[in-house]
């Protein structure tokens, strides 16, 4: 159990709201960790804090060293954060956007074909659909080749085919030793991917643990404050009718 990211009495504020106070938990290295929680529970803020992109009270240690002691350059070599889609109004093309990650890497064609964006390379970002744009962002993520990935809903705009492909991609990279922490809304994807879970309930309490210990109807019902049903070992949202 090698610690990857350790929270020591961390409090996170956004504006005047205190989202979390006195967080203490340690994310272990070598796994996929999925963050689950309701809207506004603070998932994205927690992820930004791990990336060192927002100020926090207390210490977050990255591999044994406080995050704020890292030089920004070293930090960005270790951590790749992907969040909201970028603005598109200045007319960058897909290829130019990918080249901003590091100096136009040779792997660009390989990664582009893996992410199914080869035919989009010369298009302007503004001409893409949000799903295509998200695939471009994920390609940029892969090109950065950082050992730690922090992903904020990486599949939110993708169609089914590309969601499935990206779940496979994440599994593959995890097996190769990459540390991945990601926010998801889809419970089935979370179940398939997660070795560990971070659950944030509506009171701002954070529960960290193994997926098999936390992924059950009782715990998740409490996390989401929503009704769930067990359906043949899968946990489904309770829409009031049985899907056969």
């Amino acid at each position: 159990m090698i610690p990857l990211i350790k929270f020591n009495n961390v409090s996170i504020q956004r504006g005047k709201n205190t989202l979390f106070s006195n967080l203490n938990f340690t994310v272990t290295s070598g796994h996929i960790t999925v963050i689950l929680g309701a809207n506004g529970a603070g998932k994205s803020s927690l992820l930004l804090a791990m990336a060192g992109l927002i100020p926090v009270l207390g210490d977050i240690d990255l591999m044994g060293k406080p995050l704020q002691l890292y030089h920004p350059y070293d930090r960005t070599q270790l951590i790749a954060w992907q969040g909201e889609l970028p603005p598109t109004e200045f007319g960058l093309t897909v290829e130019q956007r990918l080249c901003l990650v590091n100096d136009c890497p040779k792997r660009i064609n390989h990664v582009a074909s893996d992410m199914d964006i080869t035919i989009l390379l010369s298009r302007a970002l503004a001409q893409l659909s949000s799903g295509e744009l998200q695939r471009v962002e994920l390609a940029a993520l892969i090109l950065r080749d950082a050992p730690i990935w922090l992903l904020d809903e990486p599949t939110s705009h993708l169609d089914l085919k590309h969601q499935i492909h990206f779940v496979h991609t994440l599994k593959k990279h995890s097996t190769k030793g990459r540390d991945i922490i990601l926010i998801l809304h889809d419970l089935q994807q979370a179940k398939v991917l997660a070795d560990f879970l971070i659950l944030i309930d509506t009171q701002g309490d954070v529960h960290y643990g193994k997926c098999e210990d936390l992924f059950n109807r009782q715990t998740l019902t409490q996390t989401f404050d929503a009704s769930l049903v067990d359906q043949e070992s899968a946990l489904m949202p309770d829409y009031g009718v049985t899907i056969s």
Partner: protein, 315 residues
């Protein structure tokens, strides 16, 4: 292959620039061939037209560079050098100075320079609040300056009105700044542009992404605000408020050369210079021997071009 294409493009730009330069140098109340000028013609050419052309070139280039920077800084393609009220406060300074010492020629430039910096300092107070609030504060400040300007104009004695009017529309004939200073500033601004171009490209992805890629966004924004404002203040001091160069030229260059700043910035610096040289030449020849304020010409050329771009641009 790419390098050959780039070299050809730059060679073409230089040829176009030289052609425009010779053309605008020859044009005037009477046509003078620069290669055969002598006597009084040579005097007109080298001592009147040349300095004015160079001033126009430098001011146009500075305005276009400042426009390109403000557009990235405010992540708003509609930003221009005057959007944060720097031109408004400069106008207030210039007109106030004119009221105070109506018979001195250089007084408007000094007033404009001081006014511009007062405007910049006001905006700086809001810089830490983030892009949107800074933009909002700048736009509101611009409205305030324009109200103060209205007040001053209402109080201004009649004989000063024409000078105030032509200064506010932009006029290169009053420029008191040394040409070397303006051209030096143009070169310096372009050099800064080259150093910043990679960071500016990354900033196009938004502040959060830029931060995640290791850019110190706060520092970059402060530097950019200071640089773009200083350049604007200098241009306004030299030539009054000349509209649309800073808005249209960077967009035009983005359409021609793409969005990466190592191309957009030099192309804007040269393109803005060409546009203002051209507009100023028309301004001083159209109703010669009288002159029109050049700001009228840039707006009359700039507005149709900009509207055309808007129609062509995919949303």
């Amino acid at each position: 292959m790419i390098h050959i294409k780039g070299a050809i493009t730059w060679a073409m730009i230089l040829v176009i620039l030289s052609m425009f330069f010779l053309l605008t140098l020859s044009m005037g109340e009477q046509w003078i061939n620069p290669f055969q000028a002598s006597g009084q013609d040579a005097m007109i050419l080298w001592e009147l037209r040349l300095p004015r052309l160079l001033t126009a070139f430098a001011v146009g280039g500075l305005l276009a560079l400042a426009g390109a920077w403000f557009q990235v800084l405010l992540s708003n393609p509609l930003a221009e050098p005057y959007v944060l009220g720097v031109a408004g406060s400069a106008s207030v300074g210039a007109v106030a100075a004119l009221m105070w010492m109506p018979d001195t020629t250089w007084v408007m430039s000094v007033g404009a320079f001081i006014g511009a910096w007062i405007g910049i300092v006001c905006v700086m107070f809001f810089a830490h609040l983030g892009t949107n609030k800074m933009l909002l504060a700048g736009v509101v400040l611009a409205a305030f300056w324009s109200a103060v300007l209205g007040l001053l104009l209402a109080l201004l004695p009649e004989q000063g009105l024409f000078r105030a009017f032509s200064w506010m529309m932009g006029d290169l004939s009053y420029s008191d700044l040394p040409i070397t200073l303006l051209l030096g500033a143009w070169g310096f601004a372009l050099l800064c542009g080259f150093f910043l171009s990679r960071s500016l490209d990354i900033l196009l992805l938004g502040e959060r992404h830029a931060e995640a890629l290791g850019i110190d966004v706060n520092q970059l924004r402060q530097r950019l605000l200071l640089l773009a404002s200083a350049v604007t203040a200098l241009a306004v001091t030299a030539a009054g408020t000349i509209g649309f160069v800073g808005l249209v030229v960077p967009h035009f260059m983005r359409l021609l050369f793409g969005s990466l700043h190592y191309r957009v910035l030099p192309a804007s610096a040269i393109g803005g210079g060409i546009l203002l040289m051209f507009a100023d030449t028309i301004a001083r020849t159209m109703i010669a021997p009288a002159e029109l304020p050049v700001g009228i010409l840039t707006a009359m050329i700039g507005v149709p071009v900009f509207l055309f771009l808007l129609l062509r641009r995919p949303s």
